[in-house]
């Protein structure tokens, strides 16, 4: 397992939204998914995950529903809303521009 990186707040929001594009997921699943996809580079601090989820729900970008988990337990599933999808697009393009700009600075300076 390589060295993990702590996430900035805004970045966590972006990752959560992105994770939910395909299907609704519960909190633990989201944390797991981010970790897996980033090949364990991005460690979601589980403690900061839930406040972020609640915040996103309040913004209306994600919505929550109680449902049954894989082994049939009650779990709260989050899904992306229409405005969440747009937010994701905005944030993604912001991020792309930002990271491209930073990469550019790092390369040339």
């Amino acid at each position: 397992m390589g060295k993990s990186i702590d996430l900035l707040q805004g970045t966590l929001d972006l990752l959560i939204l992105k994770t939910l594009v395909l299907e609704p997921m519960h909190g633990w699943g989201i944390a797991q998914r981010i970790q897996q996809i980033s090949k364990d580079v991005l460690q979601v601090q589980q403690g900061s995950l839930y406040p972020a989820l609640y915040r996103l729900e309040q913004q209306g970008w994600i919505a929550a529903e109680w449902g049954a988990s894989e082994n049939n337990r009650r779990a709260k599933y989050y899904r992306l809303t229409a405005s969440g999808r747009r937010q994701l697009e905005r944030e993604t393009s912001n991020w792309t521009r930002l990271s491209a700009a930073i990469a550019h600075v790092l390369k040339t300076a």
Binding site: G27, W28, G47, Y50, Y54, E57, Q58, S69, R74, T81
Partner: protein
């Protein structure tokens, strides 16, 4: 929004869900750890470690709950305000409409509150009662004779404390430095303690000072202390000449002291009930107040007082016994009983008006919702949920409601002033009614209520997002809602109009009641001689004679007469019917026979008031000095005493106590004498005799008090000042109350007029609102159907058909509303019955007229847009969309 409300108000539920979610997370993580080879316990700890500070996380999660609600609310309020500002015209109309409803409510509520809810200004006032016996023939309010009262005072009773009062407030004169007529009351020394009141300064008079022969003392009102003594504390201990009797001021009543009957009282004197009240003679009639012992109900008190009732009944003349019952009445009931109903009716009318206003604004909002479809669609597309949109609507309408409340506050204030001007004697305490804290709270409640109510329709009618995204929705729910609202408005208007109509007919009936006399152009002057003046035999009568002569000599005066009381305000004196014994008939033995009013008048009295002498003659001047006794009977009394006989020339005797015979010299027409709407009593007249023996039925005070009636075609104000001048030229220290007979009669009509004018006003406003609502709905529907109408016309429909179609659509609603309204009015107007006179609560004429008025207004409201529809140019209409 519902979720957040839950979070705010039912935190436990949201908290529970959060706990569930976090527990699920930890279990999931533990399973994951076990799968990676940890023991169960290790796995659990590892999961907790990985999660971090649980308490802090929860706290952060909780923070988001309230914040969102508040930030969204602030955002929506800002948006709502912006919307309202942008549509200033709409906002003004809506706020104005609501202000009308709220203002009317506020005004009536504050009067209602002051009278029916506001605590009486006595500690534990709920335990204060007026008690005694009720003998309907004598008095509708409880009274008690001195001997019964004194007996009770020494016994075990349900009362903690009791106090008696010589009923009524008498005029009394104070001299030096300036003569003034004041209002004096005589009460027992326990009066103030019973009411739980202490003088603001000084002291109450003592039990010793309340005994006959004690040195005279008095308490004065706060108002008198201020006006007469300039609030100088030195007033205490001063001697005040009351009716020529030097009386020491021992105390000053508190500024907020309210007499239990709401009468005005300037000076309170000891009652000095003579101990001789006990004995054979029942003694004077008193009003008695008492404070119930804590925990004793009125029913229990009544049971405890039964022995006294029985004792009283035994001592009463047999003919009275059957009618006697016990009366224990809460002080508030005694004060406001007669107007309670009127207040509730007026309050009901204003609530109806507010409903109408709310329905109207709801309709406006619904109409606007239609216009704002596109905006809604955009917002919906942007992700605003149905709930959020509904919330927005409600916030907007609540803002309107609050705006209406603020404007209504001002309007209510004005309306209250108008009511005060309308009803100087119509409603008790109306001058004291003001929009205090309860009024403001009430207005706030009403504003929020009406605001939410009128936004409800618009919120309910927000279609699901999918529908909004379509280019055009039918909005049939909205249309149905709007139609229902208009029908409801019409229905409420019918109820309001029917109520107002019935009260107006009552007023008209009351105005048209024949009084049996001509009250116009008569100035009245009430003159009472001080108790210490004109005491030598004949002096008082001599003074009145001189005054009469002087008044008769005034320029323009065509007649002067004296009487001891004036119709129709109620006779000062009355006699049970059984006491009158007509010559040649057996004595009356069927109970009391009710009361007979009587007055002692001068010979000019009948001519003065234009009361016809049907048979025989009026009094002659010679009757005043003659030794014999003459009597004039009213027609109704003559018919009862001498049925089917000619009474003139017959004789009547008063049997209790047995007196001389009176010769019947004439029969006078019936005159209203017990109030305008009350059944009048039969009546007889005696002549005011010359000094020294006035022969006035043993009422020695009669010769010291009189109403002068002065008829003159000149303007009343001029005559009044001449009369005042004449009185003061004879005795400059003698105060007199000068008025006109018409004013006295008018005062009796004040309350019905107040009821009728206010409900009439509310009904007119209601009718206007319903008309506007209908007009709006039909206009809107015409505008919406322009296209359709155009097609119809292009296909050959005639103008008349279009007109009929549009009119028919509106009138269908009106008819439905009228039908519902009439049913509602029939159910509700029976609550009016005690306020009505000469008209039944289901009076068909009123209902027909009301329906016709509504139909006419509705027709007009529909006709204008219908005509516009019929003028539609098919070509323009087809190009319209």
């Amino acid at each position: 929004m519902m979720l957040n409300l839950r979070a705010l108000f039912h935190k436990s539920r949201a908290e529970q869900e959060m706990d569930d979610e976090l527990r699920f997370h930890l279990e999931k993580q533990a399973e994951h750890n076990i799968a990676r080879g940890m023991s169960a316990e290790e796995a659990r700890y590892a999961a907790l470690r990985k999660f971090g500070n649980m308490g802090q996380v929860k706290e952060e999660c909780r923070d988001t709950w309230g914040m969102r609600f508040i930030s969204e609310l602030a955002q929506d309020i800002r948006f709502g305000l912006r919307q309202l500002r942008r549509n200033a015209g709409f906002t003004a109309v809506a706020i104005g409409t609501l202000a009308l409803g709220i203002g009317a409510n506020a005004a009536i509520f504050s009067v209602l509150y002051r009278n029916l809810i506001h605590p009486l200004p006595y500690p534990h006032a709920e335990r204060l009662v007026m008690f005694g016996v009720v003998v309907p023939a004598l008095d509708s309010r409880p009274f008690i004779f001195g001997f019964t009262y004194l007996g009770l005072r020494h016994e075990q009773t349900p009362f903690e404390s009791m106090a008696s009062w010589m009923p009524g407030v008498q005029g009394c004169d104070i001299a030096a430095p300036e003569a003034q007529r004041m209002d004096c009351a005589q009460v027992e020394s326990t009066f103030l303690p019973t009411f739980g009141i202490r003088p603001a300064f000084g002291r109450n008079f003592t039990f010793q000072e309340d005994l006959p022969g004690a040195p005279p003392v008095c308490l004065i009102s706060y108002g008198m202390w201020r006006s007469r003594f300039g609030s100088n504390p030195a007033a205490l201990g001063q001697l005040l000449s009351i009716d020529g009797n030097p009386t020491r001021v021992v105390g000053i009543l508190p500024g907020d002291f309210e007499w239990p009957t709401l009468a005005r009282v300037d000076i309170v004197l000891p009652e000095k009930l003579p101990p001789s009240a006990r004995g054979e003679n029942p003694g004077v009639a008193l009003r008695a107040y008492a404070r119930l012992k804590p925990g004793v109900s009125i029913a229990q008190a009544g049971a405890q007082l039964q022995p006294f009732l029985q004792q009283f009944i035994q001592s009463a003349p047999p003919m009275f016994r059957k009618e006697i019952r016990l009366g224990i009445v809460p002080v508030r009931e005694d004060q406001v009983g007669p107007v309670r109903q009127a207040l509730w009716v007026l309050f009901g009318a204003t609530l109806a008006l507010l409903l109408l206003a709310t329905a109207n604004v709801a309709n406006l909002l619904l109409a606007r919702a239609e216009v704002r479809q596109r905006e809604l669609a955009v917002r919906s597309a942007l992700g605003a949920g149905r709930r959020r949109l509904a919330q927005l609507r409600l916030i907007e309408s609540t803002l309107l409601g609050l705006g209406g409340g603020i404007a209504g506050l001002g309007l209510g204030f004005l309306l209250l002033r108008v009511s005060v001007a309308l009803a100087p004697a119509g409603i008790p305490r109306i001058e004291q009614a003001h929009l205090g804290l309860p009024g403001v709270l009430f207005i706030t409640g009403m504003s929020l209520f009406s605001g939410v109510l009128c936004g409800m329709g618009a919120s309910l009618a927000i279609p699901p997002a999918q529908l909004l995204l379509g280019s055009r929705t039918t909005g049939s729910l909205r249309r149905r809602l709007r139609s229902a609202l208009v029908a409801a408005q019409v229905a409420v208007s019918v109820v309001l109009l029917a109520g107002a109509g019935l009260l107006l007919r009552t007023l008209r009936n009351i105005e048209n009641i024949p009084l049996g006399m001509d009250t116009s152009h008569v100035v009245t002057a009430e003159v009472a001689l001080g108790r210490q003046a004109f005491l030598r035999p004949g002096e008082a009568a001599g003074f009145f004679d001189r005054l009469e002569t002087r008044l008769s000599a005034l320029p323009g005066v065509t007649g002067v007469a004296l009487s001891d009381s004036l119709p129709p305000a109620g006779a000062e004196h009355s006699m049970p019917f059984f006491v009158l014994h007509p010559e040649g008939h057996p004595p009356f033995e069927k109970g009391t026979g009710g009361m007979v009013a009587w007055r002692a008048v001068t010979p000019g009295y009948f001519r003065m008031l234009d009361i016809p002498i049907i048979e025989g003659r009026s009094f002659a001047s010679s009757d005043r000095s003659s030794q014999g006794n003459v009597i004039v009977l009213s027609k109704s009394l003559a018919d009862r005493l001498f049925p089917a006989e000619d009474p003139v020339g017959r004789r009547v005797q008063f049997t209790s106590p047995p007196g001389p015979w009176y010769d019947v010299v004439g029969i006078a027409g019936n005159v209203k004498n017990a109030g305008i709407i009350q059944e009048s009593d039969p009546e007889y007249y005696l002549v005011r005799k010359d000094a020294p023996d006035l022969g006035l039925h043993g009422f020695p005070d009669l010769q010291r008090h009189a109403f002068f009636l002065v008829r003159s075609p000149l303007a009343a104000s001029g005559v009044a000042s001449m009369v005042r001048g004449a009185i003061s030229s004879l005795d400059s220290t003698l105060p007199a109350k000068i008025s006109t007979l018409d004013a006295r009669v008018g005062q009796l009509r004040t309350r019905p007029r107040f009821n009728a004018v206010l409900t009439g006003l509310f009904a007119m406003l209601g009718l206007l609102l319903a008309g506007i609502g209908l007009f709006g709905l039909v206009s809107y529907s015409v505008a919406q159907r322009t296209n359709e109408i155009g097609i119809r016309m292009a296909l050959g429909a005639q103008k008349g058909e279009i007109l009929r179609m549009v009119l028919g659509q509106g009138l269908k609603l009106v008819l439905a509303g009228v039908a519902i309204g009439i049913a509602g009015a029939l159910a509700l107007t029976r609550f009016l019955s005690s306020l009505l006179y000469g008209v039944k609560p289901t009076d068909p004429l009123t209902f027909i007229v009301v329906s016709l008025i509504l139909a006419a207004v509705a027709l007009l409201a529909c006709y204008i847009p219908a005509r516009r529809a019929a003028r539609v140019d098919p070509m323009v209409a087809l190009r319209y969309e």
